[in-house]
């Protein structure tokens, strides 16, 4: 009897679902196309010769195929060739800027993650006076927009400490903590089974020993997720390094790219060089995406439910 009444509903549902599924795939497919198509335009431009590109801007494929734009951006091509290809002929060396970005990012990721983890453990597990008010202060800092502290920090680094145009100046504000990192790890540590720590304490481990040998090893997944988010945020940051790291010796990729974009040799921006530079700057992000894309997706889902 029940099957009788349910059967028509089900087949109707299936028909509606398959039409619905088709529509869903259309929407998702279109979204994937819109997401990925610009990347093809970058590749196609980076592999084109500027002169031919200007003559034939509508081509979907590279025009006047060449690898030289990459060589040019990495400083491997002599000045005359570079100018002939539409560059300014000025020495640009993205290796240097990539190295600077790598230094700034790795120091920040290691420092911020480690020191934030230490603090997060204390907030999650140790009992001490002023613990909760202090933690609430950290949380309050999450609400302050960057621009409010940016100007005082600029004055502190640039004038008071004279750390302008040094790596120390670029990394200092984010090296020792981020309110988000402390909050994120504390939430995780709160859920760690206390019995593990108690067992280690019985074996005579001190607080740091417990943190180092028990807590850190079992917290590798959330710590890796956090480190990944910090990596992306630091590698991508522009405003702060553009203020305190103008000098070429400490200039990071984002700043270098903005400077490159603002130059207009021969009257127009050097688009082929610019797209080659963009592609090179994307490599680490693409690497992270290919290796850890799933983890980032999962972490986005985690941050959505804090």
């Amino acid at each position: 009897m029940t099957t009788h009444t349910l059967a028509p509903v089900r087949s109707g549902q299936r028909r509606r679902l398959s039409a619905g599924k088709l529509a869903a795939w259309l929407v998702v497919g279109l979204a994937i196309f819109i997401t990925l198509a610009p990347f093809w335009w970058v590749v196609r431009t980076a592999l084109s010769t500027k002169k031919d590109l200007l003559a034939n801007p509508d081509s979907i494929l590279p025009v006047g195929f060449t690898w030289l734009n990459f060589g040019r951006v990495l400083g491997q091509v002599d000045t005359a060739t570079a100018i002939a290809l539409g560059g300014s002929g000025q020495k640009i060396n993205f290796w240097l800027f990539a190295r600077n970005s790598a230094i700034v990012t790795s120091v920040t990721v290691v420092g911020q993650t480690f020191f934030s983890a230490l603090a997060a453990y204390a907030f999650a597990r140790l009992k001490f006076p002023l613990r909760d008010p202090l933690f609430n202060l950290y949380l309050a800092a999450l609400m302050i927009p960057g621009i409010v502290t940016l100007i005082p920090n600029y004055l502190l680094i640039h004038r008071d400490l004279d750390w302008g145009n040094t790596f120390l100046g670029i990394v200092a504000p984010t090296l020792l903590m981020s309110p988000f990192a402390v909050f994120f790890l504390r939430q995780f540590f709160l859920g760690v089974n206390r019995e593990l720590e108690e067992a280690a304490a019985l074996d005579g481990a001190g607080t740091f020993g417990i943190f180092w040998r028990v807590i850190l090893p079992i917290s590798i997944p959330p710590i890796a997720t956090l480190a990944l988010l910090t990596f992306v945020g630091t590698w991508n940051s522009y405003f702060w390094p553009s203020l305190v790291g103008k000098d070429e010796s400490v200039r990071v990729l984002t700043v270098a790219l903005a400077v490159f974009k603002s130059q207009t040799p021969q009257g127009v921006p050097d688009w082929t060089g610019l797209m080659a530079a963009t592609l090179i700057s994307m490599i680490p992000t693409l690497g992270v995406f290919l290796l850890f894309g799933r983890r980032v997706v999962n972490s986005i889902q985690f941050t959505g439910f804090k």
């Binding site: 619905g20 409010v148 700057s281």
Partner: protein, 306 residues
Amino acid sequence: MTPVAVPVAARPAWVRRWFSQETLVAWLFILPSLIGFVTFYAVPAVRGLYFSFTDWDMLKPPQFIGLDNYTQMFQDRQFWNSLGVTVYYVLLNIPAQTVLAILLAVMMDRVVKSTLLRSVFILPWLLPAVIVGTIWAWILNPALGPIGSIFRALSLTPPPFLGSPDQAMPSIALINIWQYTGNAALLVFAGLQTIPKEVYEAGAIDGASEGRLFWSITLPLLRPVLVFVLVTTIIGSFQVFDTIAVTTLGGPAGATRVIIWYIFEYAFNRFQMGYATAVAVVLFLILISITIIQMRVLKADTSDLA
């Protein structure tokens, strides 16, 4: 008598609490992050507030001038203009992005089982805004970009996009919708996973249409996630800067001079640090008010699931 000489049991409770071994260890754990917090968050926030009441210009020592910066700000037509431009941008960006994100999430929920495929949508979000801005400045180039090509193929004049005062801000919004919709969609998607399937089955048995199910089940149950997405994207949207720094530089004719750009010009082109921090403080107050209102109106913590 010194406290050291007192046997442990005889010390008053507060001394035991404040000077216990656990407290000392805890403070050692907290110390690095506390140095970072005090130096680069707490003190700068207070200093910023103080600067906002001074005429500091980095040349002569700051003079306390009371509310002069604030009265000057409220009388400055450019300030109101950049506030208007910012609100215009938020209105162009957020509704479209949120609706697209919900649509994409619902469609993904139906057909996309693989995390790998879904992770495609975080790719733009992983990239620096500087790179995304550069790529889109090229794609929206009327003479050489692919969108211009489409218009020419249809014998139409390509729109100037970033080059005209009318279209510059919508173009910036378009760029940022491209960059952030995927991330927002993944958050909403994660929210969808928390809705029990039985709720839909019950609704379907009652004969509710798909549209009806969406409006009376999906949207209300998504409320906590939607509040999170709206609060974070609106706060981020009010602080748009990097994209503008590599595309329009606040132009043409001030059409994209958003509030952060306005602050940036006063602080780092005119070095009127006092005035610039005052604007930053006002922005902070605006953002805090918006957050509180949103939390109240949308009742952030209550899901209809409970």
